[in-house]
């Protein structure tokens, strides 16, 4: 259930330096009790901006919360300049990934800024005795982050770059063809999700993004149609099962 609480900024450091948008790791200290599943998000209030900014949960400790975000606009730019202080967060938002369906050897597929929530998912799957593997897709070498985090968990990682400047040249789906898996979890830009949806040979879950008003199901700002009815990405999602997704063109 959602909670509003205040978090102290522990650190807020850049992970990449690509001019297309720097990626930052923000570590916060506060009450994380409302966060119950990987794949959930928090909604961050920033001074002078009206709407909160939704950011997925990357990692969780007893009293710490890690968010990884890309600087894409006014809000994230302002957030990246904060090195200390207190942030007003709504926590425990979204349904999150269901790990009960993962089977023994799920593959986790992340594209760009969709990579962060897969880290807490990987840790959760490991704690349940499962053997996840990871595929991370980026445009080019300068944009890569997160590989070392997964390697430190002892998880096999394949990295793809579109321009071939690092790892496998191509898309996450090129690496997926060469991977043995019994289930998949994906998070990334919509073109990637569509490609994964087409080429995955098993069931799976994917996490979606949309501009949100409230983030907790009140405003109907982020609705989408699915095969199981209309859903609010913020509350009934952001995670959907492969079988219920309805792509609109």
């Amino acid at each position: 259930m959602m909670k509003q609480s205040f978090f102290e900024i522990v650190s807020n450091e850049p992970l990449t330096f690509a001019p297309s948008g720097q990626v930052f790791r923000l570590v916060l200290r506060g009450d994380v009790s409302a966060i119950t599943r990987p794949g959930q998000f928090v909604n961050v209030k920033l001074d002078g901006l009206f709407l909160r900014r939704p950011i997925s949960v990357n990692d969780l400790g007893d009293h710490t919360l890690t968010l990884i975000y890309k600087v894409v606009g006014k809000g994230t730019k302002q957030l990246s300049a904060m090195k200390s202080g207190v942030l007003d967060l709504l926590t425990g938002l979204g349904n999150g990934y269901d790990t009960a369906l993962s089977g023994e050897n799920p593959v986790l597929i992340g594209g760009g800024v969709g990579v962060p929530p897969l880290f807490l998912l990987a840790k959760t799957l490991l704690s349940e005795g499962k053997k996840p593997s990871v595929i991370l897709g980026f445009n080019k070498k300068e944009e890569i982050f997160g590989e070392a985090d997964f390697l430190s968990l002892g998880i096999p990682v394949k990295v793809t770059t579109v321009d071939g400047s690092y790892g496998i040249r191509g898309f996450v789906t090129d690496a997926l063809k060469e991977t043995d898996y019994g289930y998949f979890y994906a998070c990334g830009p919509e073109p990637m999700l569509r490609a994964v949806w087409k080429s995955a040979v098993t069931s799976g879950q994917m996490s979606f993004e949309e501009r949100m008003g409230c983030g907790f199901g009140a405003c109907m700002g982020c609705s989408c149609k699915t095969l199981t009815g209309n859903k609010r990405i913020c509350r009934d999602g952001p995670v959907m099962k492969k079988e219920e997704i309805l792509w609109e063109d």
């Binding site: 259930m1 959602m2 509003q4 209030k45 901006l49 009206f50 709407l51 909160r52 006014k74 809000g75 709504l90 949309e210 501009r211 949100m212 008003g213 409230c214 907790f216 199901g217 009140a218 405003c219 109907m220 700002g221 982020c222 609705s223 989408c224 149609k225 209309n230 509350r235």
Partner: protein, 305 residues
């Protein structure tokens, strides 16, 4: 009577704080956060005859001190509201509730109100003739005095409950529309709905909102809302519900001094889900500070100066 008690079209309210339609669903999401029975009442999600998915996304844009939405009256339709939503509402809210209704023809409005009328918990109908996000309906009824009067009269015929017409600010002369509604039998007027607005994505060189335009709300519109509440409450004899940019106990009092008998809070709920509870908590101390004994004493206080 307590200091916060007011009355709206003959129905007593513990306080004048009313979450506005479209920002509070059917109440049960917020009931997970706090006991929503502290509210005066709330206006539930705009309901239409048929189910509506609404507009394509993106439906939301950030603005300075506000936001634009183009949801487009997404709702499950009156049948599902009766069978699925109102039972859930009843489980968490035990006061008379305000039913917000919209339509695309005069018959639509009357049909939906008539269907809902048997629900005992519905205290008032708030008839939305001001949604800027749908074509061929909504706002078009609220921008013409004759059309607004026609909707009012049609709804009036199918219910004995108080009928409050929710008006659009996107007009040249809001007073003439309010007067037309009053003459056609309205028991109250609520205003303002959102102001038609737009944002453009500078990188994509396209409107941020998929529907191009949307309704602008939030603290930025408070002065416009105050002005219109003042004008309308000067002209009509029926009660006025004020809304538009209200986000604090001070704003509630300002809206009441402008002439509002009760006050709706919209966009603020979306960024601070506790805002209505907090306003109700803050009102007594703000009243002390401003030497207000009872909120009833300040309704329209700014008139006649």
């Amino acid at each position: 009577m307590g200091r916060l008690n007011v009355s709206l079209c003959g129905i007593p309210l513990d306080n004048p704080v009313i979450p506005a339609s479209g920002t509070f669903g059917f109440g049960y999401e917020f009931a997970e956060l706090y006991d929503i029975n502290v509210l005066g009442t709330f206006s539930f999600k705009g309901t239409t005859r048929d189910p509506r998915f609404g507009n394509p996304t993106p439906r939301i844009a950030e603005c300075t001190s506000g936001m634009i939405n183009a949801v487009g009256l997404q709702n499950p339709g009156v049948e599902k509201v009766l069978s699925d939503e109102l039972p859930k509402l009843k489980a968490v809210f035990h006061k008379p509730v305000m039913a917000n209704v919209s339509g695309f023809s005069v018959d639509d409005y009357a049909y939906t109100v008539e269907k809902l009328d048997a629900e005992e918990q519905i205290g008032w109908f708030e008839v939305n003739v001001s949604c800027p996000n749908v074509h061929g309906g909504g706002m078009s009824f609220g921008t013409d005095p004759r059309a607004a009067a026609e909707v009012t009269a049609a709804v009036r015929r199918v219910t004995k409950k108080p009928v409050i017409l929710k008006l659009s600010p996107n007009v040249t002369d809001i007073v003439s529309i309010a007067l037309a509604c009053e003459e056609a039998g309205a028991d109250g007027i609520s205003l303002i709905n959102t102001l038609l607005g737009m944002r453009i994505d500078l990188k994509r060189r396209k409107p941020v909102i998929a529907n191009k335009m949307g309704g602008f709300s939030g603290p930025a519109i408070l002065p416009v809302a105050l002005r219109m509440v003042y004008q309308v409450s000067s002209a009509v004899k029926i009660p006025v519900v004020g809304m538009g940019g209200v986000s604090s106990a001070y704003d509630v009092i300002e809206m009441m001094m402008a002439g509002a008998s009760a006050v709706e809070i919209g966009a603020a709920n979306l960024v601070d889900p506790f805002v209505c509870r907090n306003i109700i908590r803050d009102l007594p101390s703000v009243m002390d500070e401003l030497r207000i004994d009872s909120l009833r004493d300040i309704i329209g206080a700014a008139h006649g100066c």
